[in-house]
């Protein structure tokens, strides 16, 4: 059976929430109505990573990339593209291009990307195991069960040089090897799908778009270290990922790829899902395990490491979703293939969630060693609204900022740490000239302060004190010794906190003070916020030379702080002004000024 066209409809969370299901249904109905349903297969896929422009519909073989599609567009897509073979120009991503087709390869967003983890996302139907199998799925498991020894598997991961993608970058083979070597009547495999970094969603997208890759990898690990139980710890706010996992697990069980005597090999392995309530600290591995055991999610000191003594005191291999998604392809293509991708320090690719003041936000997978400039300018299309680039934040609340001078640094685990940031799980937030760096530091710090479990004093007390100091600075009450005080507290937290949440919490402050000391000084000494963000430090006024007295601002001001006759210059009463900024946006003559 040959189809003439394939219509791929994104079913990722972002697109789904903007009606992807309705679009899918409408397309199926239109194909029926226009008599082409035998020629066309409509497939729902995982996230294309281009959520900013969603809902996405891609039509093959022309490789036409349609963006912001609405259910009402289905009729035209079918009648024009499918029946008449004419692309629907107005919906194409690249509308004004002079070339014949807007092909996916032509979109810069995809050009520098290299997809290993996301290889199936946006291509296969994640709810159909046959499509995963068609893409060599469960072939790695076959190899592991019937052709390789346990040591071969570990050795292949060692050659690959795969390091954990959950943040710390620990070599995966070592972890597996520790667990394998421990004698125990029971062992566990855990998938960390807690994904708590603000702005991060790569794990969610992987699970939604290619759930079987994680199931296959966990089964491989089970066989390698001698475990028969797997647990996926996933936050309850990810309903679509949970649903796709449940469907995938059922299908794998039906096929005998999970459960007793897998493929007749004699090996038993099954997986269950545990829902987390979404506390950031529960992503930390020891807290996560405590939470699975039914205790409060609080970290415990390591060693012993979970690999040796983990869930219910049994050896437990815990890896991140993205780490898991890399495993099957490494086994299939060999560690040496993987080792060649990336840098000497970090091999393979990394998925980033690119957000903030960027033209094309979305999921990006690039080889390790790609520079920030390539990610932000070539893939991300540069800063939105032609503003000036200020900094990029990586590593979420544990990371720091990277400035213009370092945009050409090839990114890998080591280089980011050297710059005072870290890889983290892959959040990447771009800031422009309108972002206040002190405000950014405050945002991340307050996030970790809120999420601290409170078990140890350095994190609990230190975090709160840092937050108080930042608050003081943004209010205009900061003093010069505050900078030293923050460094002192920060360093104490780094040394004395029990888990990495507290140890890394000061990073956003320390790195912003290092690269943007001037901006801190402006707040402290001049009592000014150069970006115009910190309300206590700015005043709104009207430039009498520019104001033509159109009264637009006065009518919009929510607190009637603006007075003036028609056609005469207006005035803001600073004692009434709540600094909402509405007048600034309203004035067409640039008469409203912020200082």
């Amino acid at each position: 059976m040959a189809f003439r066209n394939y219509i791929l409809v994104c079913g990722g969370t972002a697109c789904e929430s903007s009606k992807a299901s309705a679009i899918y249904d409408a397309l199926v109905a239109e194909c029926q109505a226009q008599g082409v349903s035998k020629d066309v297969q409509v497939v729902k896929t995982g996230c294309f990573g281009f959520c900013e422009q969603g809902p996405i519909v891609k039509i093959l073989p022309e490789d036409s990339f349609y963006v912001r599609v609405k259910p009402e567009d289905a009729k035209e897509l079918v009648s024009e593209h499918i029946v008449k073979g004419r692309e629907v120009k107005r919906l194409l991503y690249d509308k004004d291009s002079s070339k014949k087709h807007a092909k996916v390869e032509d979109i810069k967003f995809y050009q520098k990307q290299f997809r290993i983890v996301l290889r199936n996302c946006g291509f296969i139907d994640p709810e159909n195991i046959d499509e995963y199998i068609a893409r060599e799925g469960y072939g790695a498991l076959e190899k592991v069960l019937f052709e390789m020894t346990e040591d071969d598997v570990i050795n292949e991961l060692k050659i690959a040089g795969l390091r954990g993608r959950g943040g710390a970058g620990f070599p995966t083979w070592m972890k597996w090897n520790f667990s394998k070597q421990v004698e125990s009547d029971d062992k566990f495999i855990v998938c960390n799908a807690d994904e708590g970094d603000p702005g991060a969603y790569m794990d969610r997208s992987t699970l939604e778009g290619d759930p079987h890759s994680v199931l296959e990898a966990m089964t491989i690990a089970g066989h390698t270290i001698g475990a028969n139980h797997g647990i996926i710890y996933i936050r309850a706010e990810y309903p679509l990922a949970i649903k796709r996992l449940e469907i995938a697990m059922k299908q794998a069980r039906d096929y005998g790829l999970l459960g007793k005597n897998i493929l007749g090999s004699g090996f038993d392995f099954d997986i269950e899902i545990r829902l987390g309530a979404g506390a950031f600290v529960c992503g930390e591995e020891t807290a996560l395990l405590a939470s699975i055991e039914g205790h409060r999610g609080m970290p415990v000191p390591r060693p012993p490491f979970p690999a040796v003594r983990g869930l219910w005191s049994h050896p437990t291999v815990i890896n991140n979703v993205e780490t898991w998604a890399n495993i099957p392809i490494i086994i299939l293509k060999g560690g040496a293939w993987f080792e060649r991708i990336g840098t000497p320090d970090s091999h393979g690719t990394k998925v980033f969630a690119l957000t903030g003041k960027i033209r094309n936000s979305g999921l990006v997978e690039v080889p390790m060693g790609t520079t920030l400039r390539e990610i932000i300018y070539d893939i991300g299309g540069g800063i939105a609204n032609d503003k000036e680039f200020k900094a990029v934040q990586t590593g979420g609340p544990s990371g720091g900022v990277i400035t213009k001078d370092y945009l050409d640094t090839p990114i890998d685990f080591g280089s980011l740490v050297k710059l005072g940031s870290m890889m983290g799980s892959g959040g990447m937030i771009v800031m422009d000239e309108d972002d206040c760096i002190v405000d950014v530091a405050k945002f991340y710090l307050n996030f970790t302060v809120d999420e601290s479990c409170g078990k140890c004093a350095p994190c609990r007390v230190g975090g709160r004190s840092l937050s108080n100091i930042l608050e003081k600075i943004t209010k205009g009450d900061g003093t010069l010794d505050d900078l030293d005080k923050m460094a002192e507290i920060g360093n104490a937290m780094k040394k004395a906190s029990l888990c990495a949440l507290g140890q890394t919490a000061p990073n956003p402050i320390l790195s912003t003070v290092k690269y943007f000391k001037d901006e801190y000084l402006a707040h402290i000494v001049e009592k000014k916020c150069p970006a115009g963000k910190c309300k206590s430090l700015i005043t709104y006024s009207i430039n009498v030379d520019k104001c033509i007295g159109c009264t637009a601002c006065a009518r919009k001001c929510p607190v009637q702080a603006i007075s003036g006759e028609r056609r005469a210059p207006h005035k803001i009463d600073p004692s009434l002004c709540i600094k909402c900024g509405v007048c600034l946006e309203t004035c067409k003559f640039g008469a409203v000024e912020v200082h």
Binding site: M1, A2, F3, R4, Y6, Q41, V43, L60, P61, E62, D63, K84, G85, R86, F123, I124, D130, E131, I133, A134, R135, E136, G137, Y138, G139, E142, F146, D254, Y255, G256, L257, G259, L263, G264
Partner: protein
Amino acid sequence: MAKMTLEELRKLRDKKKVEIKKRDVSDRDTHIIVGMGTCGIAAGGKVVLDTFLRELDSRHLDNVIVTQTGCMGLCYVEPTVEVISPGMPPVIYGKVDASVVKRIVDEHIVGKQMVSDHVFDRPSADIIKDGGK
């Protein structure tokens, strides 16, 4: 589907692989474009398109993309088909029917030989623009 043996899994994969490959356009090197303007459709373009898909499928030629386009400006020899394949100049064939389709597949795509009697040159750009009228 009941639990599978290793053999059954491999068989299923081989079967599904062929199906899903048809969707993957990333490393295809040969492109067949069928003219499906009003004139092309009237002259039998749909039959040509379907015959191509069937012929390629039965020969397991999975390096070929078949797409449609509007009028190529050669209405007097419709249905027309453009074939772009490695090692061959781009060629437009006219007066294509089911038997010519088979020849294009065998002679041009597999055999790397042009199909004589059916090659029509592309008219100059200004003719294309006004639709060959």
